[in-house]
Subunit: 396 residues, 2 copies
């Protein structure tokens, strides 16, 4: 799929009768661009430059492909206004309401690549922020503060424990927003200070970044970003599909001077390929790391989907830096080796509840479990490094 | 479904084996609240006050209901932080990633009803803004400026034509954002002034409100709202699922002093009942009118869904004003009578391309078609009024 400097391409899967698919594809192109019949358009400029065009229609192979067609459309880049929300609107605004359409692909034009912010840090920048840019690389470790309902002090104590264990990134559970039992400012201060105390105890054994959940409207987000700056917080977490992509791009990406973790909450109202959304689009919109529900956990994505997310996060894409894939969603320490074999070491492994629930299951302390997680990743990292050359893409 | 003052209820449809459904429902309650196993929660406060609870599990009746269960959960209102984005997160954040779950219902608690802004104008307020609050009521008329690609001057000329025809509300096509061929400020000024000139020609025959599409991040939205105020624009259009619900609530609802039309673009990545999302939730988030794809048009909703959207938009809901249902999406003048029979007169009928495409089809001018639309609605309004008592709900 190629796109000239002024147009970009998108790929859709359509369910249609073979006899109807040409008309259906043309209708889709109109729906997603001028939203009216072509014969009612009097202006040559609109017909020649604004209407989306059908590039190709191919039947989907295989027995599961019956009645399905892959349709490529090309769009004028100008129709996006070079703005992320309007880009989503052109790609999947109205046709999200048509159940016979899925969005499978998007190839940005050069203009869009320049206009969309992309990650400020990316995979390598997050490593540098952690002081881990020296090779050999190892996978990064991440855990979540939970459950919501804990007080700032309780969250701080838990964060201190994780930091003493040497976890790289400690994020809020995405459900920890700005509730009265742990208001953002009080919580972030308590957690960041606890991490600071743990770092002082550990000396220069490593850094830990805290990523509090940003939530709410733009004013609230601006207040939260001020707290992040004032407390010297090292990262942030946001749910782009809840906060709104334009807010991520224009406010959080522009103003947060720290790495951004994107969380997939509310992103699964599907019919957009998850790899495209979580891997490519979130990367273009400014995420430095993209959390996704790994296969074999509490969620539904299969192995191929998870591989595709990691590929989209790290593959070459114009000058846009690669970002960290973050497999998550019911992962356990026991799966560390397997995940590193699957995704390589340019990855951040997120294990949340398993570090806590093991308290009951095995009688371990949280500190012991978190330390075990960190050590397992370090060991596995060396192994992976020995067995395979430095790679930024998953094994084929 | 009842909800006490500190808790609210949500209804989900789960696909599960009968032997597993109790465990699946409990897992859903945990996923949507504390996101960890209950046995790992040490704090009584969290167990007693924060964890979502399974209220009921009922098999779905009928042959299509095999393997489906309706599950009601109750949530602590405090977990929402009384903020709209976090409310969506509690309702459908993570479980949007689980394809066996649909969100069918949401009953706000009193606290949420007070905290969510609701419409500033509502159905009656829009009528007042149009000078149409005297009874008997008639349905309102709405059309769309299109296609994108027209210049501000061309859009202004079209708007002037619609205004001379007596259309009540002229909205931008939702794809007309802030593109270089019609930048927001230039376009809005041109259109508003054209409408003003038409109003002067018509004398006091009626008012026309213009609803330009707001798009982009918070800074851009704030700039656009300033243009709206400076030009005396009478309404705005926003796509909440593209702009982000928290941005709608905290910025647009708070700062726009004019009626807000909500557009469903990007809202159809389903598994949330459309009536709940477009009817009830958009109303709670501050929309004064909710556009939806009517049955028999270019989109997929069936008649029952459309009736349910209208019901959710207008039914009593605490002290929240009723809002206008706006059936749209490939409607035609020929369907005016039928739509008014279906939805009553507390409705705004949106006919876009049909006013333009008819130019070719029938040789009519746009002015003639728009005038025919307005007159048809006026005639039908009287008929409906004669045939049925003033109603704010569709016929059963």
């Amino acid at each position: 799929m190629s796109a000239g400097p002024e147009r970009f391409c998108a790929a859709y899967r359509l369910r249609a009768d073979a006899s109807q698919v040409q008309a259906r594809a043309r209708a889709l192109a109109l729906e997603q661009s001028i939203e009216m019949p072509l014969e009612a358009v009097a202006q040559p400029f609109v017909r020649d430059h604004i209407v989306a065009q059908v590039v190709s229609i191919e039947p989907v192979d295989g027995p599961a492909g019956a009645g399905l067609f892959d349709v490529k459309l090309s769009f004028a880049t100008r129709t996006t206004g070079l703005e992320a929300g309007q880009l989503l609107n052109m790609l999947f605004g109205n046709c999200s309401l048509q159940p016979d359409v899925e969005l499978l692909g998007f190839e940005p034009s050069d203009e869009l690549l320049r206009a969309l912010p992309g990650p400020r840090f990316g995979l390598e920048g997050v490593r540098r922020a952690l002081g881990l840019d020296a090779r050999p690389a190892r996978a990064l470790t991440c855990t979540a503060l939970k459950p919501q309902g804990l007080s700032p002090q309780q969250l701080g104590e838990l964060a201190g424990t994780f930091a003493r264990a040497g976890i790289d990134v400690i994020k809020d559970d995405h459900g920890i927003a700005d509730q009265d039992y742990a208001p953002f400012a009080a919580r972030v201060a308590a957690v960041q200070r606890a991490i600071g105390r743990a770092a002082a105890e550990r000396g220069d054994a490593g850094r830990t970044l805290y990523a509090p959940t940003l939530s709410g409207g733009p004013r609230r987000l601006a207040d939260q970003l001020r707290v992040v700056r004032e407390e010297g917080v090292g990262a942030v977490l946001i749910c782009p599909m809840l906060s709104g992509v334009p807010t991520l791009v224009e406010l959080v990406r522009a103003e947060a001077a720290v790495p951004i973790l994107a969380h997939p909450a509310f992103a699964g109202n599907v019919r957009i390929d998850p790899a495209l959304l979580l891997g490519r689009l979130f990367r273009l919109f400014g995420a430095d790391a993209t959390i996704f529900p790994n296969f074999g956990g509490r969620f539904c994505y299969d192995r191929d989907t998870c591989r595709a997310i990691a590929r989209f996060a790290r593959e070459p894409l114009g000058g846009v830096p690669a970002v960290l894939p973050v497999p998550a969603g019911g992962m356990s320490i026991e799966r560390v080796d397997e995940m590193i074999r699957e995704f390589g070491t340019d990855v951040m492994l997120l294990i949340g509840g398993n570090l806590l629930s093991a308290v009951c299951a095995a009688g371990d302390s949280v500190l012991a479990r978190a330390t075990a997680f960190v050590e397992r990743v370090r060991r596995a990292g060396s192994l992976a490094q020995a067995n395979q050359p430095a790679c930024t893409a998953p094994a084929p």
